[in-house]
Structure formats: C-alpha cells, structure tokens
Amino acid sequence: MINMAKFRRYFFYGTLIAYSAFTIVPFLWSLSTSIKPQDEVYQSNLIPHNPTARAYATVFGKIQPNFPSLFANSLFIACVVVILHLIFASLAGYAFARLRFPGRDVLFYLVLGSMMIPDQLRLVPIYQLMVKMGLISDRPSNYLAIFLVKAISAADIFLMRQYFLTIPRELEDAAKIDGAGPVQTFVRIMLPNAMPVMATVAILTFQGTWNDLFWPSIILQSPNHWTLPFGILQFKGQFSTDWPPIMALVVLSTLPILATYIFGQRYIINMQLGSSVKG
C-alpha cells in the first residue's frame, strides 16, 4: 500500500517535471542558439563552447530596421492601444453596469454579439476604409490605422462591466448622499476600486498587441513602422540559414512578455478567467 502511494507520488511529480521541461527547454534553446557561433548552431550542446555576441551586434546594428526600431514601434503601438482600451472599456463598462439609459441593453448585446465577427472578415472592408481615409501610406499617419482597428475591444468592455457589477452599491450611494454626480462617482469611487480589473485589461491588451502579427502585416507599409513579430516574419526569410540573429530577435521579443507575465500573473490567473468562466 505504502509503496503504491509512493509510486503514485513519484509518477505524479515525474509527469509535472517532464512537462515543464517540455515547455522551458525550447526557450532555453533559443537563448543558447542566439549566442552560438555559426558552426555550433546544429550541435546539441546547450552551453555554447565559444559563446559570441555576434548575433546581438547584428540585430542591434546591421539589420534594417534594427532591433531598437522594431522594439520602439512595438512598445509605442502596444502602449497607445492599452491606453485606448483602458479609457473606452472603463467608460462603456461602467455605463453598461450601473447607469440607466434608454437603449443600454440593446447596445450591450450588440457588443457581445460582435465578438463572433472574426477579424479576418473585417480585413477587406477595414483595409478599403483605411485606403479611403489615406491612412495606408509610409507616413506616420499609418499608425493611426492600427490604433483605429484596435481601439475597441468587446471582450474588455465585457470584462470591465462584469467587474463593476461586483463593486458594492453602498459605496456609490454614500457618494451620492455626499452630493457627488455620476461623473464624480465614476472618477472618485469606481475607478480606484476597479484597479485590479484595469491591471488585467492593461496586461492582456499589452500582450495581445505586442504579439499580434495579423494587423501589422496588413496595415504597416514602411519598414520604419514594423513591429517585432512582423520583423521576425520578414527577417526569417532573409536570414534563411543564419539562425543566431533570428534567435536573438526571438529572445529579445519574448523578454517584455516574460516581464509582464512575472509581474502581472496574479491579475490574469485570478481575474480574467474567473469572470469569463464563473461570472
């Protein structure tokens, strides 16, 4: 009996450790390859015999656009989209959760229903619309097209609304008795109480925008505007057999995600999933 329990325990931990190796080793491998010289690339040593920073020198300097430019574009686009989502989703989420106005429920169901429209259906008409608006060009106004496409997220509006519903009404009533109007109540009472969900929206939006390949590959025209994933797609073709620089881009583009992941994990695990599954 005891042996059986022990065996089960070993088997259990064995599975867990094996699977986590399965998820971690590929990332370690990309790190290792990025500092390998060309002749070691296909050798199966994890620690390079002759580590070199050549790949990093290449992606920071030689390639056009270089890593700092790709990084700056990714960061700029992701930050603007995060701010847009925070503003629009909190305004709409609060109105849908707490304010009474004619047409509210119809609007909310439209937002929910729109989640079924795939981005790929929007591709052609959005592209045509942006061409008409003169936003498909080499100029910086090209960024505006990305911001417009990504400005509204039905999922984030939904997430915010669900959270505002859980904030006790007594807080609001107390503010009202003190003579605060709806706008003041929103700014002074509701927003400070909604920080956890704001963090969730910010992290998920940042990760989603940072990782997105679809819209940048369609909208961004000038190499000066490329984002990291789009840059990886382009350079993968150019550098077909020179893996270390590509692996350096892979490592460098994953680091910010790793950072948001480490600092923001608790918000994602407890919030997003709680509200979408439990309600």
């Binding site: 931990y13 599975t15 699977y19 986590s20 971690i24 590929p26 491998w29 390859t33 296909y42 199966s44 989703a89 305004l91 709409a92 109105a95 849908f96 304010l99 009474r100 106005f101 439209l110 729109s114 079924m116 429209i117 795939p118 790929q120 259906l121 929007r122 591709l123 052609v124 008409p125 592209y127 045509q128 619309l129 417009l148 400005a151 509204i152 039905a154 109007g181 709806p182 706008v183 929103f186 990760q207 990782n211 390949l213 679809f214 369609i218 994933p229 990886i232 893996w243 590509i246 692996m247 892979v250 583009s253 994953t254 790793l258 992941y261 999933l273 979408s276 599954v277 439990k278 309600g279």
Partner: protein
Amino acid sequence: MATSTIERSKRKTKIQEALVGWGFVSIPMGLFFVLSIGIFFYAIYISTYNWGIMGPRGFLGIENYTKAIHDPIFLKAIRNSILYAALVVPLQTMAGLILALLVNSKIKGSRFFRSSFYFPSVASSAAITTLFIFLMAPEGLFNKILTFFGVDVPNLFNQGAWLSDSRTALFSVIGLNAWTTSGTMMLFYLANLQSIDGSYTEAAIMDGASRRQVFWYITMPLLKPAHFFVVTSGMIGALQLYDQAILAGGADGSPDYSLMTMVLYIYNACFRQFAFGYASAIGVILFIIIFSLTMFQKLIFGNDAWKAND
C-alpha cells in the same frame, strides 16, 4: 408642493444619469458602430462586387461565392482548416484539462508548474513558431532527440523534414499549437475547478464513490461552463489559423499548399491577386462557418453553459 419638488429633482437625476450614460458610451460605441457593425455590412457589400485596386468594377451578385466553392485551392484551404481544428481542439482541451487537474492538487511548487505550463501561450506566435521551425529542421534538436531514441531519421519517410514535407507539415503545426494553447485552456479549467464547492465531492466520497466515479460523475459535469468555453473559443481560434501558417509555409502555405488555411487564402486574394470582392466573400464564408459552429455548440451544451457567462 414638497412632493412635486422631490419628484422633479428625482426626474432631473434620472435624466442626468441617462445623459451621462450616453456620454460615456458615445465615443466607444461610435467607433464600435463604424469599425465593427458597419464594417460587417460593408464586407457583405464588397463581396457582391468585382472589386479591384481601383475600387468596384461592377456588381456580381453571388458570383464571388460560387467562384470560391469551385476553386480547388480554396477547397484545400477549407479542408486544411477543418482538419486542423478537428485535431487541435480535442488535443488542447484534453491537455488543458489534464494539466489543470495536475496543478490543482495541493502540491509543492504548484505555482511554478502552473507558470511554466502557461508560459508558451503568452509568448508571441511569431517568436515561438520561428523557434519551432528551427527545432524541427532536418538537422534540428527534435531529430537529434529522435536519433537518440534509436529512430533512423535519414531513412524516415520524410527524411526528418517535418515542416517541408507536405505529408507532415500540417500535423507538425497541429502539434505546435496544441502545445502552446494548452496553457490557456488549463487556466480556464483551473478557474472552473476552483469554483467547485468541495462538499459535493466530499459527500460522494462519504457515500463510497471511487476516485474515478467522483471524477466522471461529479467533477466533469460541474466543469460544463469550462468545457463550453474551451471548446468554443478553441474552435474559433483554430479556424482563424494564420500566423503559424504564413511563418512556416509563406504566403502560399508551402509545401504544396499543405499549410494553406482559409485566412491565408483571404490574405492571398487580397494582397497578391488584389481581388478584394472575392477575398471579402471568403471572409463572409469563414464567418458563416464560425457562427454556425458556435450556435451548434451552444445547442449541444445547452443554454445554462451560455448563461454562465453573464
């Protein structure tokens, strides 16, 4: 006199609240109506035209649609997308459920395991697919591991060229995505598992139910909201496969269109043939497929699973 003042001020607050409500939703909903609802109907409109680089060149009715269903490459794209979804969805669901059950038990280091299982799903698909292409290359790590276990890789039917052989390319991408997405699915199951009231399982164990019985008759039915969510969102995501296909197979979904997906086909129709009307028709077909599958799943899982989202 006094009551009418109170009523008037009550009405005033009500009107004020409605105005603020509209004010709050005006900009987000304005953008939403143009960029989501309006764009939806614009897509249908474009799909009925012969629409090139210079704009519409004549009304076609449903001709773009009939052209699509007679195009062998489009049919291949549909077949690939459906085969992909039919394999990835069960794989990621099962993996997600098993991982969730593993890390849900009170064990040492469960936080670490949870994080490491989830991480592949937050890394960018461009980065992770590129890394995967490198690992799956003929001289890559994957084949090294196979050789270590005694597989004669150079004499395999595909010579170990997993992504550049049309017989194995799609299945390799299926393996890749089942691995990356299972972390997300694990989280959905985990959230659901943690909301289950422990007294149900305790009562069943008191009544002499075995572990297996508890799992199949108590836990599984209580996971219904997660089943619905995981299967539906997994299906929708799978039918929109694009990143991995274009990274591994280029715009043609090489080799031999084995990685051509519906979305990649839309991309081609748009930016290589400049047939915007045709591309839009394919977008509408994709929407119809996704919409009917979602409704079908809603029917299977019943209305209460749907309501769990409110």
